[in-house]
């Protein structure tokens, strides 16, 4: 079996829910037309087409287009060694789709990452929290409208907010003072 046949089988089984397969550089991509059915499609791919290995899930921000989000699932079957890519497009107003963490547990962290980076929620995810950024971070950094330089944010409280041992103190020169006696660390009284 090759991946084109795999895609054809998926289409036979699910009909218009998946589109005609497209091929590029030896890889086959099918588009799932209804994002609400993604978990169903994935369950069929896993249970009936032996795609037991979820390689990756990525989110793409097609900023300025409608639907804005493209979620890409890379499926693989260890038995038939075929790779299949699923596309799902989600509109910005919705920005949510069902989780596939119940199909493959590997999806858990991938979905958390997409939630963290793009702000798309996965319904039915067991533990949807930010994963790379900290809890309470207000932005979604991988969105195209997020600037590369970043945006100022409140940092979570750090354990040490007092001056570090060599910050200021008797051994450090004070810049911007006119005379050497003022700059010279040994001229200052020890605090």
């Amino acid at each position: 079996m090759n991946s084109t046949e795999l895609a054809a089988k998926l289409r036979d089984r699910l009909g218009d829910l998946v589109s005609e397969p497209r091929s590029f550089r030896g890889e086959t991509t099918v588009e799932v037309t209804d994002p609400e059915k993604i978990a169903v499609v994935c369950a069929v791919a896993k249970n009936e087409l032996a795609c037991d290995y979820l390689v990756d899930i990525s989110g793409v921000d097609n900023y300025g287009e409608d639907p804005r989000w493209l979620i890409v699932y890379e499926l693989y079957g260890l038995a038939h060694r075929c790779h299949l890519r699923l596309h799902v497009r989600v509109r910005e107003e919705i920005s949510a789709l069902p989780s596939v963490a119940a199909v493959w547990r590997a999806a858990d962290w991938h979905e958390r990452e997409i939630f963290d980076m793009l702000g798309i929620t996965f319904r039915g995810h067991p533990d949807l929290r930010r994963i790379l950024m900290w809890d309470g971070y207000p932005h979604y950094p991988l969105r195209k409208d997020f600037p590369l330089a970043g945006l100022p944010t409140e940092l979570p409280g750090v354990a040490f907010s007092e001056a570090a041992p060599m910050e200021g103190g008797p051994f450090v020169t004070t810049p911007g003072v006119k005379d050497a006696a003022g700059r010279e660390p040994r001229a200052r009284p020890i605090e």
């Binding site: 590029f24 550089r25 890889e27 991509t29 037991d52 290995y53 979820l54 390689v55 990756d56 990525s58 793409v60 921000d61 890409v72 890379e74 260890l78 060694r81 790779h83 890519r85 493959w104 547990r105 590997a106 858990d108 962290w109 990452e113 980076m117 930010r130 994963i131 790379l132 950024m133 900290w134 950094p141 991988l142 997020f146 590369l148």
Partner: protein
């Protein structure tokens, strides 16, 4: 003066507090391990819930080393991103360079046109990186379990690999050796002979490590039957690399989907049987031996010979992909234009998307590239093996003892630079 003695201790108290103490006995202790802990090999933080010494719940916190590599990639050309791949799995930068170059070449559709000499040199790079990464992985794993000597032995060998890397690429760690469609430079004179010498020496060290650990009572007690990953779990969590094969699942991308010249080379894929820490150790040890064999085969069969007397090419002969030779840039108009376009705008990739996964030391390092044409990716997603491998921890750790965490983390062999990207 009369002193009224106030008794601090009510002797009746402990008995009176039994009810309260009983509640406490059932209490679970939450222990934060990391982010700065020697056995978390970087900045992994584990929130462990303990009952006595048994872990009842484990929550890994990752992201302390997040640098936004994927965001950065969207804002630069394909070639400019190569140095960033050094910093993914920084214990095997050469292998990352190769995996990334292959992904972009797949997008460009030139992966079949790579000259044989380039492919052989890339395999040498990958296998050197594999040996280097496994030497560190095993050395630290053993040291975390109390076997200091192994660490010293393996680091002596790694130093030789670093010297070879420096000689080959100019840098010990940040190698950036590959280019889209080829390599930065050919093997330096005498490098192959030194590499062959290294093969002899590292083989001895691997045997030595084998003798020190494989039948060592303490080592066996610390690792056997600890952190067992069933094949079903390993597949469900999409583990890859030695962690997947340690559970007995035969999946190695070098065999399943051979890239470069792996289909022309002979090597075995070692598999574990029980999926415990000990099996993962054995798999890594054997993989190093296989890598030494692969290195020798590549050095023997290198097209053009070690010194490249026949001037075998190492780059794709396409000026629109690889920078043309400087001599021609200064004398020929066309090459000058190519040089200018490549430097200012990058290789012109067609619109489309590819995923390429390479068998890296830590597992499957994949790059998903979504291009809309031009020299910059629209989206570059890194499927990092460490990130995926770590996601099994909440399933794997509960039920084991706190002290086994160190062995389990050592046997998973992850790198946070790659996990957090």
């Amino acid at each position: 003066m009369t002193m009224t003695h106030k008794r601090d201790i009510e002797f009746g108290e402990p008995a009176g507090r039994i009810e309260e103490l009983r509640d406490l006995a059932g209490d679970r202790l939450v222990l934060n391990m990391g982010p700065s802990h020697p056995s978390t090999h970087g900045v992994l933080r584990l929130e462990l819930e303990l009952e006595g010494e048994t872990i009842t719940k484990a929550t890994p916190h990752v992201g302390y080393l997040h640098r936004g590599d994927e965001k950065i990639a969207e804002n630069m050309t394909y070639t400019q991103f190569i140095p960033y791949t050094d910093r993914l799995d920084y214990l095997a930068p050469l292998a990352n360079n190769v995996a990334y170059a292959l992904a972009v070449e797949k997008l460009l559709g030139i992966d079949q046109q790579l000259p044989p000499r380039c492919q052989f040199i890339r395999v040498i790079c990958c296998e050197l990186a594999r040996i280097s990464s496994h030497l560190l992985g095993l050395g630290c794993f053993a040291m975390d379990c109390g076997a200091m000597t192994v660490f010293l032995l393996t680091f002596t060998e790694r130093e030789k690999i670093y010297n070879l890397c420096e000689w080959l690429t100019g840098a010990r760690l940040t190698t950036s050796y590959t280019r889209i469609g080829g390599l930065a430079r050919d093997l330096p004179p005498d490098w192959a002979a030194q590499c062959r010498k290294f093969c002899e020496e590292v083989a001895t060290t691997i045997d030595e490590v084998d003798k020190l650990l494989t039948r060592n009572r303490i080592w066996v007690d610390r690792t056997q039957g600890v952190g067992i990953i069933s094949p079903a779990d390993a597949i469900d969590f999409a583990l890859s690399g030695p962690n997947l094969r340690g559970s007995g699942v035969n999946h190695d991308l070098r065999k399943a989907h051979p890239y470069l010249v792996y289909d022309q080379l002979e090597f075995e894929v070692p598999l574990g049987s029980t999926g415990d820490c000990y099996d993962r150790y054995l798999v890594r040890l054997e993989e190093m031996r296989q890598s030494v064999g692969l290195l020798r085969q590549c050095l023997d069969r290198l097209p053009g010979g070690p010194e490249n007397r026949t001037n075998a090419p190492i780059n794709v002969p396409d000026g629109k992909i690889v920078l043309p030779p400087k001599k021609k840039v200064l004398t020929s108009m066309e090459e000058l234009i190519h040089q200018f376009m490549l430097v200012t705008q990058g290789v012109n990739a067609p619109p489309g998307e590819v995923y390429f996964g390479a068998e890296n030391p830590k597992g499957e390092l994949g790059f998903y590239l979504c291009s809309r044409g031009g020299g910059t990716p629209h989206r570059l997603k890194i499927r990092s093996p460490s990130f995926v491998n770590l996601s099994i921890l909440p399933r794997l750790l509960p039920g084991s003892l706190l002290s086994d965490t160190v062995a389990i983390l050592g046997s998973i062999d992850f790198v946070m630079g790659e996990c957090d990207r």
